[in-house]
Symmetry: C2
Subunit: 348 residues, 2 copies
């Protein structure tokens, strides 16, 4: 691939190239990139009950991603999707993003084309407009700061604080898989480094593509949001699983002032993820509880919704909400009760 230095385009030339031909899909986008601020019209729908949602995520090289094995196109895609996921977790629809980029001279114009190709693809697939940004030089590596705006009807917004005693606790998809994808990439990175000396450099990913996909190119669960709406189910509390199930459960329980019982044998685990965990001597349940980056939805809903819930694809009931004095409990396979603890990041 040719390598064009960013300095040959300059700041404004680079911005022109990256934003060239951007089209706006949302009727609420009046003015996109190119002025001091974008101009949006949420009143365009004529719906006075429409609320605006805003969420932001920072992705830093060396902390959130390693460019030794994360392709820039995937990174751009993922950086968008993790923001969309937050908007869906409010039961809303993402509509616009702004993109802040800090880039060092290590990156070429072609690298940024790749990153933006991923950003554009995510916007296209999720029907979101890229309306603004800030592109600047960085001393150290790549910084991506995305803010996502979205909308939701006032009476459809689902927060973290609405879970009630006896509500069902549900998650979508499976848990811990993105984490196992990361373990696989890390292992192969080290093996690959050693193998390079012997000339045999093809990583052993065969049959494990799904783990990689979950780590490198996650999707946000708009399909579940739509299915819940069609089924007439309104979650009482909801959030996306970005830091791992444990800490997300604790958020919902503390904000809703309730406890919970979650059953180990109900946690949805992917077969490939479990097999790799065994091979690597990891406890897959711990990975599912604390792994993070699943971008699945965790939600609670009324017990009366049980019949409507069961037929839904890829939605799993993993426990129920309890009185607060019960605590936040994981019930093991043999009936033993373990307190759920949050990890969050501990990079310091």
């Amino acid at each position: 691939m040719p390598r064009t230095e960013i300095k040959t385009l300059g700041e404004f030339g680079l911005i022109r190239r990256l934003t060239d031909g951007l089209t706006n899909r949302q009727p609420s986008t009046l003015v996109g990139v190119g002025d001091d601020a974008a101009v949006l019209n949420y009143a365009a729908t004529g719906d006075a009950d429409l609320r605006t949602l805003v969420t932001t995520d920072l992705l830093l090289e060396g902390v959130h991603f390693n460019l030794e094995y994360v392709p820039l196109r995937h990174l751009g895609y993922k950086a968008c999707v993790v923001n969309f996921s937050d908007i869906y977790a409010m039961n809303g629809t993402p509509t616009q993003i702004t993109v802040g980029l800090g880039i060092s001279s290590r990156f070429s114009v072609e690298d940024l084309d790749e990153l933006y190709a991923g950003i554009r693809l995510a916007c296209e697939r999720y029907n979101v407009d890229l309306v603004g940004g800030d592109t600047c030089a960085s001393m150290n590596g790549l910084t991506i700061a995305i803010t996502c705006l979205g909308t939701a009807k006032a009476d459809e917004i689902v927060r973290r604080n609405g879970a009630k005693v006896n509500d069902l606790i549900c998650v979508t998809g499976n848990l811990g898989t993105a984490y196992m994808g990361l373990q696989l990439l890390e292992r192969e990175r080290i093996v690959h480094r050693d193998k390079q000396m012997s000339g045999d450099t093809i990583p052993a990913f065969e049959g494990r593509e799904y783990l990689l996909e979950r780590q490198l190119k996650p999707e946000a669960r708009w399909d579940v949001i739509e299915a819940l709406r069609k089924a007439g189910i309104r979650p009482t509390a909801m959030q996306d699983v970005s830091d791992g199930l444990s800490s997300e459960l604790l958020h919902i329980c503390s904000q809703s002032k309730v406890g919970c019982a979650v059953y180990e044998d109900k946690l949805p685990i992917d077969y490939q993820a479990a097999a790799l965990a065994e091979e690597m001597n990891l406890n897959i349940v711990t990975c599912a509880l604390n792994g993070g980056e699943d971008y699945e939805l965790l939600f609670t809903c009324d017990l009366d919704d049980y019949e409507k819930l069961v037929p839904l694809d890829d939605v799993y009931i993993i426990g129920h909400i309890t009185k607060p004095d019960f605590g936040t409990i994981l019930v093991g396979r043999n009936g033993e009760e373990l307190p759920i603890r949050a990890q969050g990041w501990n990079a310091f």
Copy 2:
């Protein structure tokens, strides 16, 4: 000052501490920090003509600021104000911000308290709500990503593309002063480093506090926006001066498809800035044209507004808009015509 390591609080403890006691001032803020996304209601005013504005800025250590001489409290304040400035430059009012922070273990909890004290002060003074954010570890230094939302009536928004031939070109305040403040800080940093060996470590800032203030703690020109409104002047094009007058003039001219003539002897220059430039053998006009970080407003308005414009405090007419084939010209003190060129950043 005591030093508390961030790891003693953990991610969630740190976020609780930083966002403790935040109050929302804007009627449009329904839900602030603490959920997947903030919830805003721009329909709250009942004004169907209200538009939403969004802008974003990334500030990176080593590129945008040097913590050897920038106090964290000032940095937090400035990081907010530069975003507010973009919203005012659309003739709007800032209403909410989100704050993304990347922090390395070099920073203590007390450091972040200071940074947040500045952010909170800016929000208080400008009547803006802090509604969300993302706080994460960083490998290298401090990253601040702020996105600002604001509102404006549809028919009051001023973009960059509305300048017409014969319009007056105006700027507020003075130009190049923030840049001279930076030069002063840089010079003293080096002198200070040498003096430390001899034990004499008081920097020579006396009488030059204004230069430092312009660099370290700029304000956004809401006062001018208000004065223009009261005077019944609607600018035809406007933007804030963040990269230097030259590149901002070129933005307005290229987006409005016009040329301009700006007069060197009309550029508002601060006396202290000029004196320091002379002392440091710098051309103050070059600093005014390309220095950046002034956060003043550059706007054009109809020639018919001349009488209303003249009485306004701190607003200076520096030239006029011309036909595009005239080019973008700086007219020197002796009548010589020089083409205006953009610098932008060139950190690569």
